[in-house]
């Protein structure tokens, strides 16, 4: 069984002069391989904690799982076959942790119970429990993000309102002219309202596009920096619907305010500076 382990041992690179067929194999994480300038087929010397050095051949590279709790760690990682690892560590029959992947439909509770029965002292935990235990920090961060989003959206709504008020100030004369030539308050209201609502809708779409574009850039950059497939920023459909809904409701509300503002005054008053 392959086991992932923080490589606490030193790795020494050797030229491939050994008869590689006789050497045990290991897998190297791509960042480790990149940092040590190793490639598949190279031979490496690994010094164990208790045993002497052993040579391994790099059988392949792997990418570290997309786990936010380990993405910033700069350690070297390798995967050994369990017997090789135990031999290196001098701890035969000793395993700290391993993962059992179940087939779809398998009874998880039954498997947990069976492992507990077979391995005395072992504690079989569902992946959700482990994930929950390690992701509390990210939950807190997510709450901060939500608070920031709320502040941003409120700020954007106030900004939109100011923009509309300024725009209305510019258009008082237009409104007065329309009233003078016989355009009804109803038409003027609908005109102002639909223009404002359309502006808000366009702003929402533009905001979402900026969000999508921004998250693409952020992900591309940090995936490159950390060599991971993690998504650092994500505009989910649920988020898009939420933002779209808020944008629309804000736009409609501002549209009503703007429309009323335009029709509430007489054309004479609208003309006054």
């Amino acid at each position: 069984m392959p086991i992932t382990l923080n490589l606490l041992m030193s790795l020494a690179v050797a030229s491939p002069v050994f008869a590689q067929a006789e050497l045990p194999e290991l897998l190297l994480e791509n960042r480790t391989a990149s940092a040590l300038e190793l490639a598949v087929g190279d031979t490496v010397w690994v010094s164990g904690l208790e045993q002497g050095e052993r040579a391994f051949v790099v059988a392949g590279l792997y990418r570290r799982p997309a786990d936010p709790s380990t993405v910033t760690l700069r350690d070297y990682r390798a995967i050994f076959h369990l017997p090789d690892l135990q031999e290196l560590l001098g701890g035969v029959d000793r395993v700290d942790r391993f993962t059992v992947k179940l087939r779809p439909g398998a009874n998880r509770e039954a498997v947990n119970a069976e492992i507990d029965r077979l391995a005395f002292g072992a504690d079989a935990l569902p992946t959700e429990t482990v994930a929950n235990a390690t992701s509390e920090t990210f939950r807190v961060v997510a709450r901060f993000h939500r608070a920031l989003a709320g502040i941003t959206i409120s700020g954007a709504a106030v900004f939109l309102l100011c923009l509309v008020v300024l725009k209305l100030e510019e258009r008082r004369l237009e409104g007065a002219s329309m009233r003078d030539v016989g355009i009804s308050r109803r038409t003027l209201f609908l005109w102002t309202f639909s223009e404002t609502a359309a502006m808000a809708a366009l702003g929402t779409v533009a905001g979402l596009l900026v969000g999508w574009g921004g998250s693409w850039v952020i992900n591309a950059y940090f995936r490159g920096v950390y060599g991971t497939s993690l998504a650092f920023a994500k505009v989910t459909p649920r988020l898009a619907i939420l933002v779209g809904g808020i944008g629309l409701v804000t736009g409609l509300a501002v549209g009503v305010v703007a429309g009323l503002q335009m029709v509430r005054s007489s054309s004479m008053r609208l003309r006054q500076p």
Partner: protein, 230 residues
């Protein structure tokens, strides 16, 4: 009343504004009749109350005292809604600064009052073409106000004023923003409009525009001076 039919009539009009705590009488005791096919020019210095009088005649503003009858309707008694409808259907306005909507093309600006009056689209298009041709702008249909000269914008505004075949056109300093030559062209257009049967009231400083009128009234300090022969 003259034989041609009364279009508008003002009786003992007063309009007082509050400027700070001071009352300003912009119009004082004005009485005036306007008959069909009249071309009345109201001359007077700035601040003499000409524009206020025009606003009162067209139902844009309401008098402090007195009454205005427009085509038999007492505008002082009409609701805002009915007064707006009356303006839409029976009165055309031409302003000194044109007051065109910058986002709309010349054709759309002219079409706007017709659309508000629920005229059929095909009829609107036909009339827009006809009106812009009348004012000499058939080649500028799709231009926005920002792409037109001052004279052209005023022509579009005149075409817009004519959109719903109004009984009365009210023009407030229509040549005020134009150079002498363009002003003369607009004066000629007003003369032609009147010759074609349109009733016009123009308030102006422009003597050239007043020369084309069939009636001239002078206004001083909110009051009309006795009528002069045209």
């Amino acid at each position: 009343m003259r034989g041609r039919g009364r279009v508008a009539e003002a009786r003992d009009l007063y309009r007082t504004y509050l400027r700070g705590s001071t009352e300003v009488e912009a119009v004082r005791g004005v009485s005036l009749e306007i008959d069909a096919r009249d071309y009345l020019a109201v001359l007077g210095p700035s601040g003499s109350g000409k524009s206020t009088l025009l606003n009162l005649l067209g139902g844009i503003d309401r008098p402090t005292a007195g009454r205005v009858e427009l085509l038999g309707h007492d505008t002082t008694a009409l609701s805002d809604r009915r007064l707006t409808r009356l303006r839409l259907e029976k009165v055309g306005f031409v302003f000194q600064r044109f007051h065109l909507l910058p986002a709309l093309t010349a054709a759309e600006n002219v079409e706007l009052p017709m659309a508000e009056a629920a005229m059929a689209k095909a009829e609107r298009r036909r009339r827009v073409a006809e009106l812009l041709d009348y004012v000499g702008l058939s080649h500028r249909l799709d231009h926005r106000p920002g792409e037109l000269s001052g004279g052209e914008m005023q022509r579009v505004a005149i075409a817009r004023a004519l959109a719903n075949r109004p009984a009365l056109i009210l023009a407030d300093e229509p040549t005020g923003e134009l150079d002498r030559k363009t002003g003369a062209e607009i004066a000629e257009l007003f003369r032609r409009l009147n010759a074609d049967g349109t009733t016009l009231v123009v308030v102006t400083h422009d003597l050239g525009l007043a020369e084309a009128a069939t009636r001239v009234r002078q206004m001083r300090d909110g009051a009309l001076l006795p009528e002069e022969a045209a």
